[in-house]
């Protein structure tokens, strides 16, 4: 169980108002909705969020975050390059880099020492989101468990927030999806993930990769 200081930090940094650019990323929600693979309603979004949690975040992003969390600054950069190599879609790579760089940027401005150090490496390092989340978590004094909780929760809020803005679900169904997904996140966090970073979310990967072909595009991913 986390102490009060950690809980307050999580509330601040897990709030969708935390200014790290997250609201501009739909991570496939927009593409799936346009392509007709995410029908309106709670059930479809629920399934999508749970799939993303289990088959991308838990098996890949979380694994990379854990490695970066335990590494020194050079080791973090290695994880960063590994993230680049493991992310198949160019659009997904770009989205992860932009989201990660935004997170590092805001933490550097807020006085984060490791974020400032790593920001100076971003001409060479990609700046992907999982290592950036590890850097941010260390700068704000979270332990590994809290860092994982924050990363998983911000994925859930980001997906649901994008779906509400796209009209896929209403605001109340959105809250229901978040509550349900929170239960899945709790289940995932109760055990350690695999050591091998891997993901299998082909439908959303294709939806994100198709973004440059669409005339309508409101989100970065």
């Amino acid at each position: 169980m986390h102490d009060m200081r950690t809980i307050l930090t999580l509330l601040q940094h897990g709030d969708s108002n935390f200014p790290a650019g997250g609201f501009a990323f739909s991570w496939g929600v927009e593409g799936l909705e346009i392509d007709g693979h995410l029908p309106r309603g709670r059930a479809a979004l629920q399934g999508f969020v749970v799939d993303q949690l289990a088959h991308r975040w838990d098996s890949m992003d979380r694994v990379l975050l854990r490695r970066a969390f335990a590494a020194d600054i050079d080791g973090i950069e290695e994880v960063d390059h590994e993230t680049e190599a493991l992310t198949l879609s160019a659009e997904m790579r770009q989205g992860s880099r932009r989201a990660g760089r935004a997170l590092i940027g805001v933490h550097a401005r807020l006085g984060g020492e490791m974020a400032a150090l790593y920001r100076a490496r971003l001409d060479a390092a990609p700046g992907h989101l999982p290592p950036a989340q590890a850097i941010a978590a260390r700068d704000i004094g979270l332990d590994l468990g809290a860092a994982e909780l924050l990363a998983g929760w911000t994925l859930i809020t980001g997906l649901v927030s994008a779906a509400v803005r796209l009209g896929t679900v209403g605001h109340l169904d959105g809250q229901a999806v978040m509550a349900e997904a929170g239960g899945h996140l709790e289940h995932l966090l109760a055990r350690d993930p695999s050591d091998d970073a891997h993901a299998f979310t082909p439908i959303s990967d294709i939806a994100i990769a198709r973004a440059p072909l669409r005339a309508q595009r409101m989100f970065a991913t």
């Binding site: 609201f23 501009a24 990323f25 760089r101 940027g105 401005r109 100076a120 994008a162 309508q216 409101m218």
Partner: protein, 212 residues
């Protein structure tokens, strides 16, 4: 030294926000400002926040007015006001990237996506920002006292040439705008014909770039 100052090791570029409702003429104003500022030797770059497409960014890139690499587009995530106020992080990152790519850039024009009268810029994003409305949107807009109208550093009333065609009393609209803004600057422009642009450029040189 701030984070921003370390980007290029030089004085950071001034960041100039341009907000206003859809269709008020923000992009047309940028198209007028680019050649006017360039003619005065201002080293500049542009960021656009299109709502649904990257049409504004592409329009500027193809305009021949500026090196296309100096134009960046940032997606607004369906919330144009959020990306300039509550969470301007992606715009800040885009501006930082432009400064890294073009050391010595003096001015970054940041054009918001079209929004409503309540949109304002974060003080952490821009050094100076203007709000563009137009006469065809109705001469009652200044009277509505939206935060964009009231809090911007300069209010620009564009499309003055259309006033007689849309039944707007231009003199009254300008007087009401000046009254609600308590004497803060109001500029009248007709971007289509280039009217009023020099006054804005002069203001940028004196109040944003501190050249005079």
């Amino acid at each position: 030294m701030t984070v921003q100052e370390t980007i290029s090791g030089t004085v950071p570029a001034a960041r100039f926000g341009i907000g206003g409702p859809v269709g008020s003429g923000k992009t047309a104003l940028v198209e007028r400002l680019i050649p006017a500022l360039t003619a005065r030797g201002v080293d500049l770059a542009v960021i656009t926040n299109d709502l649904v497409t990257i049409e504004d960014a592409e329009r500027l890139r193809r305009s021949g007015l500026i090196d296309p690499d100096r134009v960046s587009a940032v997606e607004a995530g369906a919330c144009p006001h959020t990306i300039i106020r509550e969470d301007p992080t992606l715009n800040i990152e885009a501006a930082d990237a432009l400064e890294r790519r073009f050391p010595g850039v003096e001015l970054i024009l940041l054009e918001s996506g079209g929004d409503n009268l309540a949109s304002t810029f974060s003080l952490d994003l821009t050094d100076f920002w203007i709000f563009v409305i137009d006469v065809s949107g109705g001469d009652d807009i200044p009277r509505k006292r939206g935060p964009g109208v009231l809090k911007s550093d300069v209010l620009v009333i564009n499309k003055t040439d259309l006033a007689p065609h849309v039944g707007v009393d231009l003199a009254r609209m300008e007087a009401e705008a000046r009254a609600v803004r308590g004497g803060r600057p109001v500029l009248m422009t007709d971007c289509r014909h280039g009217e009023g642009i020099d006054a804005l450029v002069e203001l940028i040189e004196t109040q944003v770039l501190f050249r005079k």
